[in-house]
Symmetry: C2
Subunit: 312 residues, 2 copies
């Protein structure tokens, strides 16, 4: 199977630059869910999120000439840090376009990982035009945070690791933002699962993926009032196509359900996870009957939270 | 060596009732400390703290007659929960004497683990007399939270696991409250270490262990204004004797240093640890030169925090 070969090759390619993250379980949460849950802890990944996998795979696929000229992306979230660190690991320059109103803590994190920040006005147009300018002036290669097949393949290594350890999983539930993690996981379920389905979890407040599948085309969010700050992005054509064909369904959850699931994970498992990650457990607890008695993987996408702004 | 045999036997005795907790590392924190740190994560222990080890060992050492009549302790902290769960695991009744002003959340936790609460006035006298009454009326055996050699031996299994995995450690730094964990760790360092020293960490605000060693006798705290709520207790004669003879030194840290170390662990390692646990890292970062280039174990004693009352 070609996809199996592609994921295997990506996993080997990025191996020395990433952590093989642990899979944790909680008897208390299993009892509540009446199911067996396996948490794939990408919050323990380098720089604190799965994005390190995709960013590293994309960088390592560049030609030597491309590597010399550096990479560029626009992001104010985890991907900005991931691309900075992944690039630094192999001696490539990373240009990060960030809106001028991005929090100082995020700018500091990018700088800490060696990224070179170019500030722009806080509009999508400004971000895109500034990125384009850097591409033209420096010859840097643009790396999209999720709508890039090499990024998706890199992300798929998380699902591969989970299924290598637990090939018996009935399904894997994954938070959906731009769709980079859920589409990678869907591909790894095809390649390494045994009839393992993949289900997305999304806040009602940013249910663009749910509505995109219904509409048969990419639709966007008009508002983004969610605590799950990693899930505000809309899908890209690459991730939409994979999701449409290989993700069984998208379960939507309320903000209260996300916060409750997040608190449950913090209190019972003693690990720090982002609100985005908690949507997956929220979806399972919400649709208990559907998941009852099953073996379920949960993608904990990351653990980068501002401890000064907790919802509890 | 007798102590080696005793700890080995305790470890085997409690094995099926406790978690073998993971040992985690952080490149970022290693860099800051200029040392190699190995965090023994008892925050992932059952009920969220190392106390499960000692409580289980004490319960399993009871005679059949004693088991039938139950156990009693007075505690409003982790040991109340630990004894409740350890007793429940082997079908023994646990009476927990708690002050009437103990937070509802702690009472609920004890009940959740099957402990039977007897409330009393919030004074040490009332706690002791109420415990005594239950001993007399029910024939229950009193189990002290730390000043009990079986409890210390059970706690020592954490140090044994750490040294089994990392026999090369130069030292282990341990938070000091009643001294149950640090004395157990000191015994396991003698039994399983290779010239491994044990160092205590204590808040300035409750530096009774530091002062007890100076004075050559147990002294108490007059105030307990520390965020490290697990470390307010004074030593008992059993733990004091072990500490006096086998703990190299006690390093004292400020409240700010504890909070800073706690935040560092939460943010960098993405794990939830109690303020008490953070004193150990605080001590290492404070006395950097002394620990430079060494391989150091850190006892993360527990992870039970009230998320609504964080110091950040």
């Amino acid at each position: 199977m070609k996809i199996k070969k592609d994921i295997n090759e990506s996993a080997i390619r990025i191996e020395r630059f990433i952590h093989k993250t642990p899979v944790l379980t909680s008897q208390a949460i299993n009892k509540m869910a009446d199911a067996e849950l396996f948490f794939k802890c990408e919050n323990f990944q380098k720089m604190g999120a799965f994005k390190m996998r995709g960013a590293t795979n994309a960088i390592l696929q560049l030609s030597d000439t491309q590597k010399q000229k550096g990479v560029v992306t626009h992001s104010s979230g985890n991907f900005a840090q991931a691309l900075s660190l992944a690039a630094k690991n192999v001696g490539v320059k990373a240009h990060i376009v960030m809106p001028s109103d991005a929090p100082q803590v995020k700018k500091d994190a990018v700088k800490g990982y060696g990224g070179e920040i170019t500030e722009c006005m806080p509009t999508l147009e400004a971000r895109e035009s500034t990125s384009k300018k850097i591409q033209e002036e420096k010859g840097a290669t643009f790396v999209h945070p999720f709508n890039d097949f090499n990024v998706v393949l890199g992300n798929a290594s998380a699902g591969k690791e989970l299924l290598d350890e637990h090939p018996e999983l009935d399904c894997i539930v994954v938070p959906v933002g731009g769709g980079g993690l859920v589409s990678g996981t869907a591909l790894s379920a095809i390649a390494f699962g045994n009839n393992c389905t993949v289900i997305g979890a999304e806040p009602f407040e940013v249910d663009d993926a749910f509505r995109s599948i219904e509409a048969g085309m990419i639709v966007h969010n008009s508002t983004t009032n969610t605590i799950a700050d990693g899930l505000k992005t809309s899908l890209g054509d690459i991730t939409f196509n994979i999701i449409k064909n290989h993700v069984q369904e998208i379960i939507r959850v309320t903000e209260e359900e996300i916060i409750e699931a997040m608190q449950l994970i913090w209190e019972r498992m003693k690990i720090i996870v982002e609100p985005s990650s908690a949507t997956a457990l929220a979806a399972i607890l919400k649709s208990k009957q559907q998941f009852s008695k099953k073996k379920i993987g949960i993608m904990i996408s990351g653990g980068n939270v501002d401890l000064k702004k907790l919802p509890f």
